[in-house]
């Protein structure tokens, strides 16, 4: 149905796509796979008219197609739903579905008709949404579904879903998949991009794998194993992941005997997290396991002074200290990488180098600027150490892929040489390869004597690198367990679900 051949696209300093071929069949769910920076987003943007390709050809139903704008793509039958919902939250659901093509009569929009047709459409997808309500009154998941309804109603030949599930919970994903399967059965070609391997194997019929802007191959999902897929995506065998073993017991004890870098006693905040005790020792990785909203981030923010505590004390490096502001925490060697790297961390307009030195410069004060030579040396060192790619400190941070942006943020804090590093979901939205690199980095940092608090929703990941694990539920720390050989993800889940057994 759709065929792209020899697509090449350059950005300043980066060749994002290099002669990529791609085809989509009607009535299939096709997954586009690749690490961050492999060129998935760029390929999709070329397909949907946001970027124009430097060379290459797109054919739809055999006829050549030039896509100059999203509008042209839509007119040709290619609709897209992006990761960030691209609708207008200030308008009603019905308007969002129909804006730009509202039913008209006598020079005016027929609102009743608009709402009636929207209600029909929503009913067809078995969605219980009030078309007259403002879009902002619904959750992100519902907004996503509304976006799909709009996209499908406009033109239903090719539907592109760019990471639609990254902010949905399990039930919502299931709902989305139901809608996707229905569309596939109606003959729509659905292109699906996701970082969640489970979801890809669950829903897709075929997949295309990209790596470093080049096509690796096209595969039948049934004939491919997970390990093979990851191998194709990363271009190497899963050795990095296997190198990391749960730390041995004697190491744990040695670490626990050191003076804690941070000791919290009865630290808590009303409505945030119930009072908890925590010791983080030098060289120790403390994992925070718990569901989204269980109080993980709240606990981290208390330790960093981003929120004020109602109760309890914090001792950093043996001396009592009131961490009332992040500034005070930074001064005492605590660093915090927040969850949402786009809104709370990275400054996309600045270059990679500028982003990296930001925290260090702030800590030094504006009157003592870093010398250019020293800056270049530091930036270069961390770009190499974290293998940030492309390894060019002068390109804007926005041009980097998600995983590399995360590494830039990490570099920013590492450069200040903190004693305690708090990482909130550092591997969310990051591909398998970068994930492994970040985990490895955390372990090696701890090996150098840094205390690390590692927050993640992925239990396997927490288990792989932590020395001890704090289990959180309902905004309270409910258990602290040493990471021994018999601790499995299943057991952690059980504790999260049922509390500490025995």
């Amino acid at each position: 149905m759709l065929r792209m051949t020899g697509i090449t696209k350059d950005f300043p300093g980066v060749r994002a796509l290099n002669g990529v071929d791609f085809r989509l069949l009607p009535g299939e769910v096709h997954a586009l796979m690749g690490e961050n920076g492999a060129g998935k987003s760029t390929l999709i943007k070329v397909l949907t008219g946001v970027h124009s390709a430097d060379s290459g050809e797109v054919r739809l139903d055999g006829a050549p197609l030039t896509i100059g704008s999203p509008k042209q793509a839509q007119a040709a039958g290619i609709s897209t739903v992006y990761q960030e919902v691209n609708l207008c939250p200030n308008l009603t659901v019905a308007e969002n579905v129909f804006i730009g093509r509202e039913p008209y009569r006598l020079g005016r929009i027929r609102w009743k008709e608009t709402r009636r047709r929207a209600a029909e459409l929503l009913a067809r997808f078995q969605l219980d949404i009030d078309p007259a309500a403002p879009l902002a009154s619904y959750s992100l998941a519902v907004q996503q579904l509304v976006a799909i309804v709009r996209a499908v109603d406009i033109s239903a030949k090719v539907l592109v879903l760019d990471e639609p599930t990254s902010s949905l919970d399990r039930d919502e994903v299931e709902r989305l998949f139901t809608v996707m399967r229905r569309l596939r059965d109606d003959g729509v070609a659905v292109l699906f991009v996701s970082h969640f391997l489970d979801q890809v194997f669950d829903i897709s019929d075929r997949m295309t794998v990209l790596r470093n802007g080049r096509l690796v191959g096209e595969f039948e999902t049934r004939a491919l194993s997970r390990v093979e897929l990851v191998g194709h995506m990363t271009g190497r065998v899963l050795r990095t992941l296997e190198e990391l073993h749960a730390p041995r017991e004697d190491v744990r004890e040695a670490i626990a005997s050191r003076e804690p870098v941070l000791a919290a006693r009865g630290l808590g905040r009303k409505g945030g997290i119930a009072p908890f005790d925590l010791d983080v020792h030098p060289g120790e990785v403390v994992g925070f396991a718990g569901l989204l909203g269980s109080g993980r981030t709240e606990a981290a923010r208390l330790m960093f002074g981003a929120d004020g505590a109602d109760s309890g004390t914090v001792r950093v490096g043996g001396s009592a200290s009131a961490l009332r502001t992040p500034g005070a925490a930074i001064g005492r060697g605590v660093a915090f990488c927040p969850e949402d790297r786009k809104t709370e961390g990275l400054i996309e307009e600045l270059t990679v180098g500028e982003n990296i030195v930001l925290a260090l410069q702030a800590a030094r004060g504006w009157l003592r600027p870093l010398s250019p030579a020293r800056r270049a040396e530091l930036v270069g060192k961390y770009i190499t150490a974290l293998s940030i790619s492309p390894a060019d400190p002068d390109i804007p941070a926005r041009n980097l892929s998600g995983g590399n942006q995360q590494k830039v943020l990490l570099a920013r804090w590492l450069i200040t040489q903190p004693r305690l590093l708090i990482l909130d979901e550092p591997t969310r939205g990051v591909d398998v390869g970068a994930k492994a690199e970040i985990q490895k980095l955390v372990v090696s940092l701890a090996g150098d004597g840094m205390g690390v608090v590692f927050i993640s929703a992925e239990l396997e990941e927490v288990l792989r690198i932590s020395h001890k694990i704090e289990v959180l539920r309902d905004r309270a720390v409910i258990a602290e367990i040493a990471n021994e050989a018999d601790v499995t993800p299943e057991r952690l889940l059980e504790i999260i679900a049922n509390g500490v057994a025995s």
Binding site: V50, P70, Y104, G107, A136, I154
Partner: protein
């Protein structure tokens, strides 16, 4: 510093007036408190039934009613229908300018050229009308629309901040006034000096002027455009999220530039209404009127960040500002700078109110 006897007397007189007005304020407070309590229940009901975005407009409406009620209670002459009609007569040009401004603010932009375009239009009208008569109207409107188009084009295609682009437009229009004439031109042509001032009798010994109908027609047209046309909905969509609007395939360029064309045209029309009001054109007319228009639109409940607001709210905003002015004029002893003080205080309150509402509305809140 020594004061002349006359000056001291004047100040004493004002002090007395202030004491008197303080008592009124207390009385007003009590009344307001009652009405606030009543309103608390009312808003609870309304909030359940209506969307929260209506709240700022409703607050403006309530304030207007309270202010007007208070005025009528203190000055019996204030509570007449003619005073309301006079609000329209005296503020017709501001209403038209503010309506144009509403379009621009809804897209998330701003138009600082409004006052200067009003002055330029008044000036053009004054110099043209003696030569071309009725044809003055389309010419002036075309000039306003062209200026609006140029600013909108620059803003959209060169991605210039609206603030800067319209600031340039402001200087340009203001400068052009003085190219036409350095001196004040007075207007004697009946198109401005007589026809708009023909009183039209209404029942109950009231009268309106034709200019009021012009303003109301613009209001009606704007309401219809914003709520019943694709162009209007596009304006809201751009204000909600410009990137989304683009990705949804809406004609963003056309719509955004269109908003500035509407504002420029409205300013030109407002300039002509202003000319009928002052019967003269000069380069120093209407200085800072764009700020009055912005104030009226914001008090009328439109978000400066765009995407939320109603042109009927703008009407209420203009009426509220107008009635403050009238009330202070009725008071007689208060200086005119109280108008500015009250307007400033109101603006503060509304900006804070909007902030509170919009932060509650965001889904992650």
């Amino acid at each position: 510093m020594k004061r002349s006897p006359r000056e001291t007397g004047h100040i004493q007189g004002r002090d007395e007036a202030m004491v008197a007005s303080e008592q009124e304020v207390l009385a007003m407070d009590a009344r307001e408190e009652r009405s606030v309590r009543g309103r608390g229940r009312l808003t609870a009901i309304l909030e359940a039934r209506l969307r929260r975005e209506y709240l700022p407009v409703l607050v403006t409406l309530a304030l207007f009613v309270v202010l007007f009620g208070t005025g009528s209670a203190i000055y019996p002459a204030f509570g007449s229908g003619q005073v309301i009609i006079d609000l329209f007569i005296d503020n017709g040009f501001l209403l038209v300018a503010a309506i144009g401004m509403t379009f621009v603010l809804l897209t998330g932009g701003i138009d600082l050229s409004v006052g200067a375009v009003i002055a330029l239009s008044a000036m053009l009208s004054a110099s043209l009308v003696e030569h071309v008569g009725l044809a003055t109207i389309p010419i002036v409107l075309a000039v306003g629309a062209t200026l609006g188009f140029l600013m909108g084009y620059v803003i959209h295609h060169f991605e210039i901040q609206p603030f800067i682009a319209t600031l340039a437009g402001m200087f340009l229009a203001r400068g052009l006034c003085f190219v036409i004439s350095i001196d004040q031109i007075s207007i004697k042509h009946p198109l401005f000096a007589e026809w708009p001032h023909i009183p039209i009798q209404l029942p109950g010994d009231m009268f309106v002027k034709p200019t009021v109908f012009v303003a109301l027609a613009v209001l009606g047209l704007a309401f219809w455009t914003l709520h019943y046309t694709r162009f209007g909905r596009g304006i809201y969509a751009i204000g909600g999220n410009e990137q989304s609007a683009l990705l949804m395939g809406l004609p963003v360029a056309r719509t955004k530039i269109g908003a500035y064309v509407v504002s420029g045209t409205c300013s030109a029309l407002a300039g002509m209404l202003f000319a009928t009001y002052t019967l003269s054109g000069t380069g120093v007319h209407a200085v800072g009127m764009e700020l009055d228009a912005i104030a009226a639109v914001v008090i009328g409940g439109t978000l400066l960040t765009g995407g939320s607001g109603y042109v009927l709210g703008t009407l209420l905003g203009v009426l509220l500002l107008g009635s403050i002015q009238t009330l202070i004029r009725f008071e007689g002893t208060l200086s005119s700078w109280w108008i500015k003080i009250v307007t400033g205080a109101l603006l503060f309150v509304f900006i804070v109110l909007q902030r509170a509402i919009s932060s509650k509305r965001s889904p992650d809140g």
